[in-house]
Every structure is written in C-alpha cells, then in structure tokens.
C-alpha cells in the first residue's frame, strides 16, 4: 500500500502536554520563502531559499474541563511556544514514524466556535518558528 493511514493515533504535544485526545486535525505547512536570484544573462527564473515561514494549524474540541483545551491554551495567546511536536503515532520515533518539532512559533489567536447542536470547537494556528523532522 502506497499511503500511510492514520485512524486515531497521531500525537500532538504542546511542550510536555499531550492534547491529542481533543485534536481532530493537524495541518503542517513547512515552507521556505523563495527569493529570486536572477541577474543579467539569466534565461529562466531561479530561486534561492530565504527564511522559513512555517505554520501549524490544529483543530480541537473546546473542552473547559480541568487540564483540557481551555486550561491548556488560555494563557498562550500572544506568546511564543517553545516546542510543539507532531507525530503519526505513539510508536518509537523512526524513519517511518518521524517526529516533527516546531520550535519558537507564535500563537496569535484563540477562537472557540459555539454552534447550536454541535460540539464546540476551536482552530489554532501557530505561526513562524523553526521546523525540523527527526527520525531517531
């Protein structure tokens, strides 16, 4: 089978806090700015790498119980998060279960969505910071 299927076991941690059981989606965007590096004589557009411009968006249920979503994130708005890690499963880190670490990202917004007849959710985007994969 050519794809990896994750049914329920990805791990998302904010620092040491495992928030996986409130999380329904995590979207990582590992991006590097592209800088044009053309000069006279160039025959095609060429680029070199600029700054990293990473982001991670996680969708969560908005639980206000002790040690849940609200308690975890209420004081983090407007702060830089030291480390956020994301991994496909709780198995040991390896080449087939790499650990992604976003270091020094900024959390600008906390926006719970209260909807009639549905569980309350929130989507949080962490912006910036350095991202790296680890296989060991």
């Amino acid at each position: 089978m050519a794809t990896s299927t994750y049914l329920s076991n990805p791990i998302v941690k904010i620092g040491a806090v495992d928030i996986s059981d409130q999380c329904t989606a995590a979207t990582l965007s590992q991006t590097t700015q592209e800088l044009q590096a053309n000069a006279f004589g160039s025959s095609a557009v060429a680029y070199v790498a600029g700054l990293q411009n990473n982001s991670l968006t996680i969708d969560l249920y908005w639980s206000t119980a002790a040690s849940e979503t609200y308690a975890t994130f209420k004081s983090l708005v407007g702060t830089v998060i030291a480390t956020i890690t994301i991994q496909g499963s709780s198995a040991a880190t390896s080449a087939t279960n790499p650990l992604g670490t976003l270091t020094g990202s900024f959390m600008p917004t906390l926006s719970p969505v209260y909807t009639l007849g549905a569980l309350t959710t929130c989507s949080i985007t962490f912006m910036g910071g350095t991202f790296a994969w680890s296989e060991a």
Partner: protein, 60 residues
C-alpha cells in the same frame, strides 16, 4: 532544586515525578494543573541497607 509531581495524564503517569526539560514552561504547567510542586522527601522510616559504621570484616 524544585520537585514536581504529575497531576494530569496529559503530561505522563499521574503521581510520578515530572522531570523538566529546559524548554518546559513550568509556570504554565503549574497554572494549567498539569503538575504540582512536591515537597516529598525520603521517609523518616527509611533504613539504609548497609549501615555506614557496620563492621565489614569478621576477622579479629
């Protein structure tokens, strides 16, 4: 050195010691109820397996 005990399963096994890494935000973990300070010291009833002044040789 401050000691902490885990109080939420989000951080680890509840009741066990929390070993902080340099990147851990202790104030945030305390405020969120994930860990608590611990003043636990070895029990006064604890006994050493070998007393420091116990003779080690049976000769003489």
């Amino acid at each position: 050195m401050d000691r902490y005990v885990i109080t939420s399963s989000r951080v680890g096994e509840i009741g066990t010691a929390f070993v902080a890494s340099p990147s851990d935000d202790i104030a945030w973990l305390l405020a969120g109820g994930f860990i608590q300070r611990s003043d636990t010291h070895p029990s006064k009833g604890a006994k050493l397996a070998i007393k420091p002044d116990a003779p080690t040789s049976k000769k003489d």
